[in-house]
Symmetry: C2
Subunit: 214 residues, 2 copies
């Protein structure tokens, strides 16, 4: 059955999924990159970068699983790029170069319309201006029997969680304290929304938690 | 050198160290007991209960270390008991029976004075009415070259952390989502206060994190 999933989503111990003050130089916010230190040494990440080698332990397993059976993605606009407000032109094509690591349709939440952007390798960015529910509907249709992965950022995940639309979150707790930024948990009662921990995986550089909705 | 430590302090994944609505029936708040499920199966805890057996893995190591080299404790009043406001009499002697698991002087923060309470096994509860800094001063004097352990609850730990008075926190992340209760991290920027993760220990039933102040 098709599910709506968050996967390999990195969080600090104090619950932040991104640092403050995101911009072109700091796409993950100040110190946000530290959240992903578990991911970078994995074989899965290195392959995405067209490099060889890398770790093959539990961190790599989690990274691999996060890409399995994904039929489409949803991204918040800030995850697609640093531009705010109307698109000046169509020159910004995402952070990921000509061949992004998605290889399926990606629905980008935005208030500003833009034609679909077809990239190499099977990724097409669709810009959705009529809200997150519409984006999910389109993403589900595109994914067919596969899963929809909500890639982030934090605000986007929170929006879908608050509406009870996410079936599973696999969070990766990195051993860092950010102290400020975008907090996944603040002001949301995950327990009351029906979420509970299903599994813990001790990785080499992060603790991976699977949270499911009952 | 004598340090001020928090140790084996259980937190939910969403940062809560106790559930809401603490009372005599729920000394840890609603669902607060779930935070400590890693501790109960350990040999260390079973010994405290005068029982044999129990696990001897990393969870037990963490439990044992939390009691090592402790010369005195500080507890918030809610951790000492469910009574609020003035003491009606001296009949409440803590949650722990006649022989509490401290075996050293314990300084209890309260606004209401009460004579020291000497228990079996070396524990004496001292009731401190002139503030948390005074309690720490007294606890350090009592601990001599050993460490002062701040037992909790959350509000008490936050108070000392915010003043930069805690050298090390060993937190035990339990695989539960509480959704409400007392949050350790909310509104405190641990990173800015100089705290950083020094160590992660994957236990059988919790992930243990050691956070040190630079």
């Amino acid at each position: 059955m098709s599910r709506v999933r968050v996967a390999a989503f990195s969080l600090s111990l104090d619950g932040f999924g991104a640092g403050p003050r995101q911009d072109l130089q700091n796409p993950l916010g100040i110190r946000g990159g530290e959240l992903h230190q578990w991911f970078f040494p994995t074989e899965a990440f290195r392959k995405m970068q067209r490099q060889t080698g890398g770790s093959q332990g539990p961190d790599n397993d989690v990274a691999l699983q996060s890409f399995e059976n994904i039929g489409s993605w949803i991204l918040g606009r800030n995850m697609f790029g640093p531009i705010r407000g109307p698109w000046q032109d169509d020159s910004w094509k995402g952070w990921w170069g000509t061949n992004p690591p998605y290889h399926v349709p990606v629905f980008v939440l935005t208030h500003h319309s833009r034609p679909p952007l077809e990239m190499e390798g099977g990724t097409t960015f669709h810009f959705v201006t009529d809200g997150h529910e519409s984006a999910l509907k389109q993403a589900k249709a595109a994914a067919k029997e596969k899963d929809v992965r909500i890639g982030g950022g934090v605000a986007t995940i929170r929006q879908y969680v608050e509406d009870g639309l996410v079936d599973e979150l696999q969070l990766s707790l990195s051993p860092v304290l950010l102290g400020e930024g975008e907090n996944l948990f603040a002001g949301i009662n995950f327990a009351k929304l029906g979420y509970a921990t299903a599994k813990i995986i001790a990785g080499e550089n992060a603790t991976h938690v699977v949270i499911k909705k009952s």
